[in-house]
C-alpha cells in the first residue's frame, strides 16, 4: 500500500466515523474526477456541479457502508464515488429528458466537414457523438478515456462484469469511429 493510499484509508475511516473535516479532504481530492464525469455525461457545467454536490452528499450518507479494499494499490474509493456520480447523473438526465433531451446537445445541422478543421467545431462534433451513445456505453467510455479507470474499476463503478466493460468500450469506440469518420479519417 502506498503512502497516498494509506493516507486515503485514514481519511475514509475518519469520515466513516463522522469526521466532516476528513470528508472535506476527500471531496477536495475527488472533486475534479466527479465533476468531470458528470460534465462529460450531461454536457452542462451547472448540472455537473449539482450532480457533484448530490454525489458527495450521497457518498457521506453511504460511507459507513463502504468497504475499503484491503489489497492492491487502490482503496476502491475512486470506483465507488464514480459509481455514485454516474448513477446520479444518469438518473437526473432521465428525469429531465422530456425537457432537455440528448438532441439538444447536438449542434444544429449544416456543419460541413471543412469546418471541422476548427478545433471548437471539432470538439463539438465529438461531444455530440459521445452524447448520442447509449448511456451505459458512454459511461464506460468516459471512465476509461477521460478518467483513466481500469477495467476492474469500471466494472465496479458500473456494477457489470469486466467482459461487459470491454464489449461496451468496443461498441462505443466503433460507434464513434463511424460517426466521426468524416472528421477523423
Amino acid at each position: 500500500m502506498t503512502l497516498h493510499t494509506a493516507a486515503e484509508v485514514d481519511l475514509i475511516r475518519s469520515s466513516q466515523q463522522g469526521d466532516a473535516r476528513a470528508f472535506g479532504e476527500l471531496v477536495r481530492r475527488y472533486y475534479r474526477l466527479v465533476v468531470s464525469i458528470a460534465y462529460r455525461l450531461c454536457n452542462d457545467p451547472q448540472m455537473a456541479e449539482d450532480m457533484a454536490q448530490e454525489a458527495f452528499l450521497k457518498a457521506w450518507q453511504a460511507l459507513p457502508r463502504f468497504r475499503i479494499r484491503e489489497e492492491g494499490e487502490s482503496t476502491g474509493f475512486r470506483a465507488w464515488v464514480s459509481r455514485i456520480v454516474v448513477n446520479a447523473t444518469i438518473d437526473e438526465m432521465r428525469r429531465q429528458r422530456p425537457a432537455t433531451g440528448l438532441d439538444d446537445l447536438t449542434p444544429a445541422g449544416g456543419i460541413r466537414p471543412a469546418e471541422a478543421l476548427d478545433r471548437v467545431v471539432e470538439a463539438e462534433m465529438v461531444r455530440s457523438a459521445i452524447a448520442r451513445l447509449p448511456e451505459r456505453s458512454r459511461a464506460a467510455l468516459i471512465l476509461r478515456e477521460y478518467e483513466g479507470l481500469s477495467y476492474e474499476e469500471i466494472a465496479e463503478a458500473l456494477d457489470i462484469p469486466i467482459g461487459t466493460v470491454m464489449s461496451r468500450l468496443n461498441y462505443a469506440r466503433k460507434r464513434l469511429r463511424e460517426e466521426l469518420s468524416h472528421y477523423f479519417p
Binding site: 466515523q17 463522522g18 466532516a20 472535506g24 471531496v27 477536495r28 472533486y31 475534479r32 465533476v35 468531470s36 460534465y39 462529460r40 457545467p45 451547472q46 455537473a48 456541479e49 457533484a52 454536490q53 458527495f56 452528499l57 457521506w60 459507513p64 478545433r119 471539432e122 470538439a123 465529438v126 461531444r127 459521445i130 467510455l141 476509461r144 478515456e145 477521460y146 481500469s150 477495467y151 470491454m166 468500450l169 468496443n170 469506440r173 464513434l176 469511429r177 466521426l180 472528421y183 477523423f184
Partner: protein, 208 residues
C-alpha cells in the same frame, strides 16, 4: 475459417487501455512490430483518443473544490438541523438516557433492598411467592434470597458480608459472585443499550 488474428485484436485493445501485464505487453509489442493490421488498428484507436481529448471540461465555469465543499458542508449541516427540528427529542436524548440509566440502576437496587427487608423480617415468604426451590445448597430459599439481596447491594462495596452471618452449608464464594454479578448485570445491560443507541445516532450524524 477461424480468424487467427482474433486473439491479437483483443490484446491490441487491452494494450491500448494499459491492461496488459508487462510480459503480455512485451509479447504484444513483438507481434505489433511485424503486423500491419494491428499497427493500423492501433493508429485508429490513438486517433480516436486524440479526438476524444479535444473535448475539455470548462473549469472556468465551474466552482472550485473548496467552494463545493463549503456547499456540501452547508447541506449536511442543514440536513442535520432539519432532522433535529423534526425530532427534538434528539436534543435531550443523551441527558435523558443518563437519567434513565440512574433511575433503572437505583430502582433495581431499591427492589433488592425491599425484597431483602421483607425476607429477613419474615413479613412475606418471598420464596413461596416467587415459587423458587425450597433449599439451595441446604439453605432455605428465603435465606438465600436475603443473602443474594444483601450481597447484591453490599458485595461490590465490600460491606454486605459483615451484616449477617453466613448460614451453615452455604457456599460463600458462589453466592458472592452470583449476587455481585446480578447487580452489575442490571446496570451493564441498561448502560450498554444506552451507549449503543448513542453510538448509532452519532454514526448517522445526528449527534456531534
Amino acid at each position: 475459417m477461424a480468424d487467427d488474428h482474433q486473439p491479437w485484436s483483443r490484446w491490441l485493445i487491452a494494450y491500448h487501455d494499459g491492461e496488459l501485464s508487462p510480459a503480455e505487453r512485451e509479447r504484444f509489442l513483438e507481434h505489433l512490430a511485424t503486423c500491419p493490421r494491428c499497427q493500423h488498428a492501433l493508429a485508429d484507436l490513438e486517433s480516436l483518443r486524440r479526438a476524444l481529448h479535444t473535448v475539455t471540461v470548462p473549469w472556468s465555469e465551474i466552482s472550485s473544490a473548496d467552494e463545493m465543499w463549503t456547499r456540501v458542508a452547508m447541506h449536511l449541516e442543514r440536513r442535520r438541523a432539519n432532522r433535529l427540528a423534526s425530532a427534538p427529542w434528539l436534543h435531550w436524548l443523551p441527558s435523558m438516557g443518563l437519567l434513565l440509566l440512574n433511575v433503572v440502576t437505583h430502582a433495581a437496587g431499591l427492589l433488592i433492598v425491599i425484597v431483602m427487608v421483607l425476607s429477613m423480617t419474615g413479613l412475606v415468604n418471598v420464596q413461596r411467592a416467587l415459587g423458587w426451590a425450597d433449599r439451595v445448597q441446604g439453605v432455605p430459599a428465603d435465606q438465600v434470597l436475603s443473602w443474594v439481596a444483601l450481597r447484591s447491594l453490599g458485595g461490590p462495596l465490600g460491606w454486605g458480608a459483615n451484616m449477617i452471618s453466613l448460614p451453615p452449608g452455604w457456599d460463600a464464594a458462589v453466592e458472592f459472585v452470583l449476587s455481585t454479578l446480578a447487580f452489575i448485570l442490571v446496570a451493564f445491560v441498561v448502560g450498554l443499550a444506552y451507549m449503543l443507541s448513542l453510538w448509532l445516532l452519532w454514526r448517522r450524524g445526528e449527534l456531534t
